[in-house]
């Protein structure tokens, strides 16, 4: 889920920035320091919007730079457990599919795509089910639920997010449409 948050931080303004207006320098420094940072409790900071309050500057011994306490506003994204997300399949591999959910990619394991057995079609880079002829390929939109979150602060690329589609209302959007159509048809038939 994306959130807009007020955060506190400390920012270092190097001396060669001192000729510029303080707010500009602080915002630049905030962006460099905090954007794309992954934090276990916050998630990832997508963008720094503005510096709200810039505190008193401090000069530390041995460094010509000035340090400021800053309150700032930022957009953060955190994948929450049980959250429903809609995303696009970006890569199909032997063991499942990777979904792009914005700042992170989530893994949809083969065992979590449908209730049926799924096989990997290497030539077409697709995952195909045995019985109902469902297939999943790159670029297709799906709806899935987050069932595992492991964020890695030091190596953001190593963060792992597990997804499932084995619940009603989840799956490729085309399958969901098909289910809905079938249901409305049977309802019509019953009414007659």
């Amino acid at each position: 889920m994306y959130k807009r948050m007020k955060l506190e931080g400390i920012v270092r303004i190097p001396p060669d920035q001192m000729g510029n207006p303080l707010e500009e320098a602080v915002e630049l420094a905030l962006r460099n320091k905090y954007e794309a940072v992954v934090d276990k409790t916050l998630g990832t900071i997508v963008a720094v919007l503005s510096a709200d309050r810039i505190g008193e500057g401090r000069i530390l011994a041995g460094d010509g730079a000035v340090y400021y306490d800053v309150d700032f506003e930022a957009v953060v994204f955190k994948p929450e457990m049980q959250e429903i997300i809609e995303g696009e399949v970006v890569e199909i591999v032997k063991f499942g599919a990777f979904l792009s959910m914005g700042p992170f990619d989530g893994l949809l394991h083969v065992s979590q795509i449908t209730n049926e057995y799924i096989s990997y079609d290497e030539k077409n880079a697709r995952l195909v089910s045995k019985e109902s002829n469902k297939a999943l390929g790159e670029g297709e939109k799906v709806r899935a639920r987050v069932i595992a979150v492991s964020l890695n602060e030091k190596e953001p690329r190593e963060s792992k997010i597990g997804l499932t589609m084995r619940q009603t209302g989840l799956g490729k959007l085309d399958w969901l449409d098909a289910v809905q159509k079938a249901e409305s048809k049977s309802a019509e038939a019953e009414a007659k």
Partner: protein, 61 residues
């Protein structure tokens, strides 16, 4: 304090910090022929244009 704004220790700290800033590329506030950051900082100190103040801890009794 005898009309002095800073103690000699504070002056040394301010001039030192300011000289380091100038050395690291901070803009200089005065017109000067000097090229040495420490000399520039000392000159600025004399003119009182350095935007650095001292926060004094007040001793507890």
């Amino acid at each position: 304090m005898k009309g002095e704004k800073y103690t000699r220790y504070e002056r040394a700290r301010i001039v030192g910090a300011r000289a380091l800033q100038i050395f690291m590329g901070a803009p200089v506030f005065i017109d000067t022929v000097s090229m040495d950051p420490l000399e520039i900082a000392l000159e600025e100190m004399k003119l009182g244009v350095i935007p650095i103040t001292v926060k004094r801890a007040i001793a507890k009794r």
